[in-house]
């Protein structure tokens, strides 16, 4: 816990001039409008792999992302990076995501990896399944390695899908539940890129369903999500 506090509130990380410029460039990008029709907006579906499930202790190991534009996943517009680790995660963890010890230590230095992700992301809204986890991991890493507070619009498929499919809401909780229901195959579960891809496919299904309910923009998705959070809290 000490370690984390010192990173969070302690000295700002020292960025090279070039890295500072890249960060500033990204920060200077205009914010994405959340009221544009979803069909014309680029959304980035993201998934992360970490050294464990502890939001405060565990480290970010890899980020995978694919872009969805106009309802289609653009395979050429995808992103994957393994962050360089000082210490290798334990064996069970490696077995889960399959990123071995040497791959972890040979990864991209964390600041560069995160800057590359920002370059890729631009200011476009983010989509994930169980946002809290992905967001916390990314925000923490951004704070620790780039020294800034990453605030960004997110939409959580873990709430949007139950809201769109109330009949299934009580039974389905995990990403696996949902992708099984829609018969989406994942040949490489627990790889950040492959998981981002199936999440994106789930998002595609959600987009078609949302369209039928006349939800046309990102703000509409977030309203849906808020409503579902409320439903969850009272039921």
């Amino acid at each position: 816990m000490r370690n984390w506090f010192s990173r969070w509130f302690g000295n700002r990380p020292q960025l090279a001039h070039e890295q500072q410029r890249r960060l500033a460039d990204w920060q200077a990008l205009p914010r994405a409008s959340l009221n544009l029709p979803l069909s014309g907006v680029r959304c980035v579906v993201v998934d992360v792999e970490t050294s464990g499930l502890n939001l405060w202790e565990d480290r970010l190991i890899s980020i995978g992302a694919v872009a969805v534009v106009n309802g289609k996943i653009d395979l050429g517009d995808s992103f994957y990076v393994v962050l360089q680790q000082a210490t290798v995660s334990d064996k069970e963890n490696i077995l889960l995501h399959g990123i071995g010890g040497s791959a972890q230590t040979e990864g991209v230095p964390a600041p560069d990896a995160l800057l590359a992700f920002l370059d890729y992301l631009r200011k476009d809204p983010l989509i994930a399944f169980h946002v809290t986890f992905d967001r916390t991991m990314i925000v923490r890493a951004m704070g620790a390695y780039l020294g800034f507070s990453f605030k960004h619009p997110w939409s959580d498929m873990a709430y949007v899908m139950p809201a769109l499919n109330p009949a299934l809401a009580s039974r389905y909780h995990s990403l696996d539940d949902w992708i099984n229901h829609f018969d989406i195959r994942n040949d490489a579960r627990h790889n950040a890129l492959a998981d981002a891809l199936v999440t994106a496919q789930l998002f595609q299904v959600g987009l078609v369903q949302a369209d039928k309910k006349s939800i046309a923009d990102f703000a509409g998705l977030r309203d849906l999500e808020k409503a579902q959070r409320w439903v969850n809290s009272v039921s």
Partner: protein, 633 residues
């Protein structure tokens, strides 16, 4: 910036043609692809969208192509596509809108490549280009390799009968001049250890041949003067083939004519000689031996042995992966020989062979036998055509012939050609007719067009001569081609009838199967091609009876593109091979002729064969669409 996960690549690596593409090209393609989602019932591509703009590969799900009413004339009639399949190739290649509406039958994800990238990829990747432009031919090539691997007998050192003769002939032939003395020729044959000598004129043109068996018959026994010129005792009727002819043609020629040698001649000059021995090296079963066995058979047991030899030969050829067209040609040739011999023996036994009637009779093959499409369990379909001799009546001839025909039918049945269940046989008085009676009968069918007439037409209009006076069938054929092509109403009725038999491609599953989960390859697979080919040929006045020749010959007159016809033919032949393999496997399992059927379980097929069979059925639909177009159905 892009990242492609290896699981995407492994998806593509599992499907043709991507499995044959270079990884770099595959990656290039993937980086340019989008993944689209199409919930159940959604239109993916339609004619209204204009020129087809993207190449699609189904990642998961099922897509159906439905013909849109507005474009009913197009030939992209129908299809169903599953995981790993690509569409709409034809429209992309031709820069035109699709002819069908492509709709997802279940929730479906498709990889999509923009048109411009599709064309770049065509230029970049040869396997990809090959696949897109010759889809069915390619799948068939794949399948042939699989078939060959399945048969244990096939071995790599065994040369194929598909080799050209130029590759089979060894060294320059030993020749002499026609004026060389018999003595010298014998001495040279003895020195060189050769079984034959060919006399050539001063320009190198072969003029005669002497073979070892001739020595006994023509020299030793008649004790001729050895100082005479050899040409006097040579065989002057020579059989030539060009060097590019295939070994199997030589084998067939030898089998048909009973020769042991075929001369290979280019620009009239002798370039080599192919002996039966040379072909033995290529083929385990001695084809000429089977042929000569049949020609010299006298007893039922000998005929039955020959019938077994034919089947063994067919099995071996399948093992070698001999192409379907040639395989059926072999089977037909030998079955014809066998039938001829049975007829000949029976004519002789009954005294008809020596009577003047013999020259006025012709034994005809009908149905699949008439089309040269016999497989191993084909029922007999035969008839007799004759002209009435002076002082006799047609009924008189019939009374004479029916008992003979009965015995022929029975002998054929004992040789493995089951009696026809519909009694379409020469021993049926209805099908033992004079030329005039046949004309009247055919004429009746054409004018009335009743369901029964249409059924009969589909069997009888495929007649050809097997034994006897060929001129009679030629005359009947000529008459029919005029009578039928004039009667468009009849052709229209035949087309309508043919359209009622649709290839069993399903809506949700790949194939529509009956309660036993099987498909009838003959009824559902072969018949649509056969029916359409018959109608096209009757309309175009084509006199051939084989489905392949009918399609090829009609195509030009009906202005159908040759590549389209070749795709139909490939599809037809594939189904034929599948049928023959099915029969062959049945026989290997010890099933009797009566137990062999045409029903297969598509689930039990090799994955590749299933795909080709689907493609073949799709071609059948295209052919039917063409038929519908011609006859406004």
């Amino acid at each position: 910036m892009s990242a492609i996960h290896s699981s995407q690549l492994s998806f593509f690596a599992a499907h043709a043609p991507f499995d044959k593409m270079e990884p770099a090209h595959l990656l290039w393609m993937l980086e340019r692809m989008k993944l689209g989602y199409y919930p159940l019932g959604e239109v993916i591509v339609s004619p209204e969208q204009g020129v087809a703009g993207r190449f699609l590969v189904i990642k998961q799900g099922l897509v159906q192509g439905e013909q849109s009413v507005a474009h009913a004339s197009e030939t992209d009639a129908w299809l169903e596509l599953a995981e790993g399949e690509c569409f709409p190739l034809g429209a992309l290649l031709a820069h035109r809108p699709v002819a069908s509406i492509y709709r997802s039958v279940v929730d479906t994800f498709c990889y999509e490549l923009p048109l411009s990238d599709f064309h770049t990829l065509l230029g970049m990747s040869a396997p990809f280009r090959d696949f897109c432009t010759r889809r069915i031919a390619n799948l068939l090539e794949h399948s042939k390799q699989v078939i060959q691997a399945q048969y244990t007998q096939s071995s790599s050192e065994q040369q194929s009968l598909n080799s050209p003769l130029s590759a089979v002939i060894r060294g320059a032939p030993v020749t002499c001049s026609p004026q060389t003395t018999v003595r010298e020729v014998l001495a040279r044959m003895c020195d060189a250890h050769i079984g034959s000598m060919i006399a050539v004129d001063s320009d190198g043109r072969p003029v005669g041949i002497l073979t070892l068996p001739d020595v006994l018959e023509r020299i030793a026994l008649p004790q001729i003067d050895l100082e005479l010129p050899v040409i006097g005792i040579m065989t002057l009727q020579l059989t030539f083939l060009p060097p590019h002819a295939l070994a199997y043609e030589a084998a067939l020629t030898m089998a048909r004519q009973g020769f042991r040698h075929v001369l290979v001649v280019e620009n009239e000059k002798l370039v080599g000689i192919v002996s039966e021995k040379d072909l033995f090296a290529l083929q385990r079963v001695g084809l000429r031996q089977i042929g000569s066995g049949i020609r010299h058979a006298k007893k039922l047991e000998e005929l039955q042995q020959s019938a077994r030899d034919i089947r063994r030969m067919a099995h071996n050829m399948m093992a070698q992966g001999v192409a379907a067209e040639q395989l059926t040609q072999f089977i037909s040739t030998f079955n014809d020989l066998l039938t001829s011999r049975v007829v000949e023996l029976e004519y002789d036994a009954s005294g008809i062979g020596a009577s003047p009637l013999a020259a006025r009779l012709c034994w005809m093959a009908l149905g699949s036998e008439g089309r040269f499409e016999q497989t191993l369990n084909t029922d007999q379909d035969n008839a007799i055509i004759f002209t009435v001799p002076e002082g006799m009546t047609a009924d008189g001839v019939r009374e004479l012939m029916l008992p003979v025909a009965r015995r022929i039918n029975e002998t054929l049945a004992l040789c493995g050609f089951p009696l026809c269940r519909g009694n379409v046989m020469a021993s049926n008085r209805e099908w033992c007719l004079s030329l005039d009676e046949w004309r009247r009968k055919f004429s009746d069918w054409i004018t009335n067009g009743t369901p029964l007439a249409l059924l009969h037409a589909s069997i009888f209009f495929d007649f050809r001569s097997v034994y006897g006076a060929h001129a009679l069938t030629d005359e009947l054929r000529l008459w029919l081609s005029r009578a039928a092509s004039d009667n468009t109403r009849f052709l229209h009725q035949m087309a309508e009838n043919a359209m009622s038999n649709r290839p069993p491609l399903g809506v949700v599953r790949d194939f529509v199967v009956g309660r036993e989960h099987t498909l009838d390859l003959k009824l559902n697979g072969i018949t649509p091609f056969v029916d359409a080919a018959r109608i096209f040929s009757l309309a175009a006045g084509v006199t051939q009876t084989s489905t392949l020749q009918r399609l090829r010959a009609s195509a030009a007159r009906l202005k159908i593109h040759p590549s389209e016809v070749e795709a139909w033919i490939d599809a037809f032949l594939f189904i034929q091979v599948l049928r023959m393999r099915h029969h062959d496997e049945g026989q290997e399992r010890g099933l009797s002729d009566d137990e062999l059927d045409n029903r297969i379980d598509p689930e039990a097929l090799h994955e590749l064969d299933r795909r080709i069979l689907k493609e073949a059925f799709r071609q059948a639909r295209k052919l039917q669409a063409r038929l519908a177009l011609e006859y406004h159905l």
